[in-house]
């Protein structure tokens, strides 16, 4: 993990089981915008507000048109559905564990094709669909940058600065599926990055690496300061599986 300023060429975008980074070339903006409720009374000195409901979004999102099977921008984005998104913000280099990230469920509200010269696609993603477990925050950390592995692996511990009383959401993308054995995929916590407190599992994903997919795991209880991704392989010689994970404190 590095800190400081960066350039958007080091951003990476994942939607469900697809790495769109090779096609994406513009993202207008992504973040949270709160409806602010005006609660000003006559005797108040200034117009003042209370927080209302936030909207999470990715707008101004453009990619080069690409109809490559499975991984092309057109192939993936023309479905118009709700995606599990991870946007990893590499700091002057390819994203690494601990770098900033934006992630969670976002519903696609538009898909258009156009452009002069290269054909481009434009997509708007606005908030999650109806569900019982919406995240309240979308900015978090890269827990595991896009990496193909063939043996049991523990990711680098991610320092969330403090324990998270409201828990975390974790977004897993299985970009390339294993074709021989299976993977047990978990998020683990430790209070001190395993100096004296060993990592223990807190989220176990249903996905086992045998299918390219995406999944959101939730731990709504208090989570310790450090978290990491762990992938345990069972089976014969692995053909390799590629994973991406984002953790978002709530």
């Amino acid at each position: 993990m590095a800190t400081g300023k960066t350039n958007s060429r080091h951003f990476r975008l994942y939607a469900d089981q697809v790495d769109l980074s090779g096609d994406v070339r513009t993202v207008g903006g992504f973040g949270l915008e709160y409806n602010m409720e005006d609660v000003t009374g006559w005797s108040d000195g200034v117009v003042n507000y209370l927080y209302g409901t936030p909207t999470a979004f990715v707008n101004g999102f453009q990619a080069v048109f690409n109809n490559t099977a499975v991984t092309g921008s057109h192939t993936e984005l023309s479905d118009q559905e709700e995606y599990l998104i991870s946007l990893h913000l590499g700091i002057r280099a390819t994203p690494a564990a601990g770098d900033p990230a934006f992630g969670g469920p976002l519903q696609q509200s538009s898909y258009t094709v156009g452009g002069e010269g290269p054909v481009i696609v434009e997509v708007a993603l606005n908030g999650p669909g109806q569900a019982l477990s919406h995240p309240s925050r979308y900015f978090g950390y890269v827990a595991y940058p896009s990496t193909s592995i063939t043996v049991t692996t523990s990711g680098t511990g991610v320092d969330m600065v403090a324990a998270q009383a409201s828990g975390i959401h974790a977004v897993l993308h299985v970009l390339t599926a294993e074709t021989v054995g299976t993977w047990a995929l978990t998020i683990q916590e430790s209070s001190d990055d395993a100096v004296g407190d060993p990592y223990v599992d807190i989220i176990t994903f249903t996905a086992n690496g045998a299918t390219a997919t995406a999944e959101r795991g939730i731990d709504a209880t208090s989570v310790e300061r450090y978290v990491r991704f762990r992938a345990v392989y069972t089976g014969g010689g692995s053909t390799g599986a590629r994973f991406v994970v984002t953790v978002i404190p709530q």
């Binding site: 207008g28 108040d44 000195g45 200034v46 003042n48 507000y49 900033p100 309240s136």
Partner: protein, 145 residues
């Protein structure tokens, strides 16, 4: 303290983190707009008045801070704003100091008040935008460093 005209390069911006502890995010700021108060105008012109005239209502103060994205520990704009957007536990002091042709010194102008962070948006060009709105009934004020 100096007096006279100045350049924006001498402005400093401090915003509370969630603690709340003031954090100097100036290296990650390239523009601050809306610093100050704008009063609601109520048109009270009558038939016999010689000119359209107004009374003033509540002032409003919406500050938009933009600049390069940075996750520098503790004081980076991303580090501060991504944590305080929607954070209701306490209000956040915004302190904007205007140095006069030099770093802000005692007696130079400053504007400060208590705010909430209403939005934090990162753009694909590696910049961010954060919007701050008043969080209490106490009016933000112009003062001096």
């Amino acid at each position: 303290m100096a007096t006279g005209k100045t350049n924006a390069k001498h402005i400093t911006v401090q915003v509370d983190d969630t603690a709340p502890t003031a954090r100097d995010i100036t290296p990650d700021v390239s523009n601050v707009s809306g610093t100050g108060l704008t009063y609601a105008e109520q048109d009270v012109t009558g038939y016999s008045d010689g000119v359209i005239n107004f009374t003033l209502g509540h002032p409003s103060s919406e500050i938009e801070i933009t600049g390069p994205f940075s996750n520098t520990a503790t004081t980076g704009a991303h580090t501060v704003f991504s944590a305080i957007v929607g954070h209701v536990t306490n209000t956040k002091t915004v302190d904007i100091r205007i140095g006069i042709r030099a770093a802000p010194a005692s007696g130079d102008p400053k504007f400060s008040g208590e705010y909430y962070c209403a939005s934090y948006v990162v753009s694909g060009d590696g910049t961010y935008s954060a919007r701050m709105v008043p969080a209490s009934s106490v009016v933000p004020v112009w003062g001096t460093v």
